[in-house]
């Protein structure tokens, strides 16, 4: 990997999102994620993920990046990011992040890392592998969202059922947006990707 020479625009976006995302874990911003599951799951978590994505995109120059011997085809990064995202979709983890500040710190750091990992992994992997991991994450987001929005069981002790319903719709929307974003990206980078498939 190679460092970019000048801090580009993406870095500033990443830093801003990182500040906004972290501010939601510190009072007075914290009261928003304590009171609303949607603020927590649909606004803060994606902001943290996106901040990692942009920070990584702003720091490393992927056009001059070597394949990376420990993360060939982005496999290691995908698996790690997938675990992080799965973990923070569990109601029990969401409750813990609200009640225990030390868990919340881990949440902020790990979600930023997951964005950075996905950025690196997508730049290294062929379309089929991307489809597998992105497809998995998208289907997980949509099914979790639909469950949150339709169940009558209150899943998080820290949030009301009403809050859970709105968060559910938001999570579905994130899943759909992610799928569209990925499809757009793969289409834009098409020639490059086809080369990689042959190489694969």
């Amino acid at each position: 990997m190679k460092l970019k020479r000048f801090p580009p625009f993406a870095l500033w976006i990443g830093l801003t999102l990182c500040l906004v995302g972290s501010a939601l874990s510190i009072p007075p911003g914290r009261s928003l994620i304590e009171q609303s599951m949607a603020w927590h799951m649909v606004i803060q978590m994606p902001i943290l993920f996106a901040s990692g994505w942009f920070l990584m995109g702003g720091v490393w120059d992927f056009s001059k990046t070597s394949p990376g011997s420990w993360n060939q085809f982005g496999l290691t990064g995908f698996i790690a990011a997938q675990f992080i995202i799965t973990y923070w979709m569990l109601p029990i983890s969401i409750d813990r992040a609200v009640v225990m500040p030390q868990v919340d710190v881990l949440k902020v750091l790990s979600l930023i890392a997951s964005g950075a990992l996905i950025q690196t992994s997508l730049s290294r992997s062929p379309a089929v592998l991307q489809l597998f991991f992105v497809g998995y994450i998208v289907s997980m987001l949509i099914s979790t969202g639909v469950y949150l929005a339709t169940t009558e069981r209150r899943l998080c002790n820290a949030y009301s059922l009403e809050s859970q319903l709105s968060a559910g719709y938001g999570v579905v929307a994130i899943g759909v947006a992610l799928a569209c974003g990925w499809a757009y990206r793969i289409n834009r980078l098409k020639p490059k990707t086809e080369d990689r498939i042959e190489g694969f």
Binding site: S69, W70, Q72, T76, I79, P91, D95, L155, S160
Partner: protein, 222 residues
């Protein structure tokens, strides 16, 4: 020939590179699984509520010794109330202004009371409602709730904390999270808590499963 050997060399390096990635991925996979299993009580609890119930069933805990008063204004402690009559208690948490879940809990307790009366089990199983809103639930408020629910004093009792400062300790001991809701109401995880006469919380069951709670209480009653 030269081409072939360079291909072979490439194959070797990419094989070596893949081996490293395979190792790293396996380590990440194993770590991820360990963390997920650890966080969910070996895959048994995906919500805080199921974790709370699993933990209580595995390791019963002693309820704290907190000063309480009842609808007649009598002062005692939570464990003294539980020690009365050598019974197993089914405990729920309420606040008397509640219009939502506590009303359902109230109905569940009324049905349980009816069962206990019908089957003559009042020396074996008791019902205890604990209010976590001592600021509003004065003895008078508890008395009104008692009359509204038509509590049989030999079976069903209601108490609240003498000191609002003990609220945190009470809720933590039972794993109840109370969150403020609109219109001055509270939202909280509602369930039926089985507590022995010695003050040991040993099972938590859904309030839909009142008959299960009664069966467990009878099976463990002295």
């Amino acid at each position: 020939m030269a081409k072939n050997s360079s291909l072979a060399a490439e194959g070797l390096t990419s094989g070596a590179v893949l081996w490293k990635t395979f190792l790293a991925s396996s380590v990440v996979l194993a770590l991820g699984l360990i963390v997920l299993l650890q966080a969910t009580a070996q895959g048994n609890a995906f919500t805080t509520e199921t974790l709370r119930r699993t933990e209580v069933a595995n390791t019963p805990s002693l309820v704290p010794e907190l000063p309480v008063y009842d609808a007649d204004g009598n002062q005692s402690t939570l464990r003294q109330v539980l020690a009365e009559g050598d019974k197993v208690w089914i405990v729920d948490f309420v606040y008397t202004r509640c219009q939502t879940i506590c009303t359902t809990l109230g109905t569940v307790f009324q049905q349980l009371q009816h069962q206990i009366q019908l089957r003559g089990l009042d020396d074996k199983v008791g019902l205890l409602s604990v209010s976590f809103d001592p600021a509003h639930d004065t003895p008078d408020a508890l008395g009104i709730y008692r009359d509204r629910m038509r509590m049989d004093p030999d079976i069903w009792r209601i108490v609240t904390l003498s000191s609002p400062l003990d609220r945190r300790q009470l809720l933590d001991a039972f794993g109840i999270i109370v969150i403020p809701a609109p219109l001055g109401e509270f939202e909280h995880n509602a369930a039926l808590h089985l507590v022995s006469g010695a003050g040991r919380l040993f099972r938590i069951v859904d309030y839909d499963d009142a008959t299960v709670a009664l069966d467990i209480a009878l099976a463990t009653a002295p």
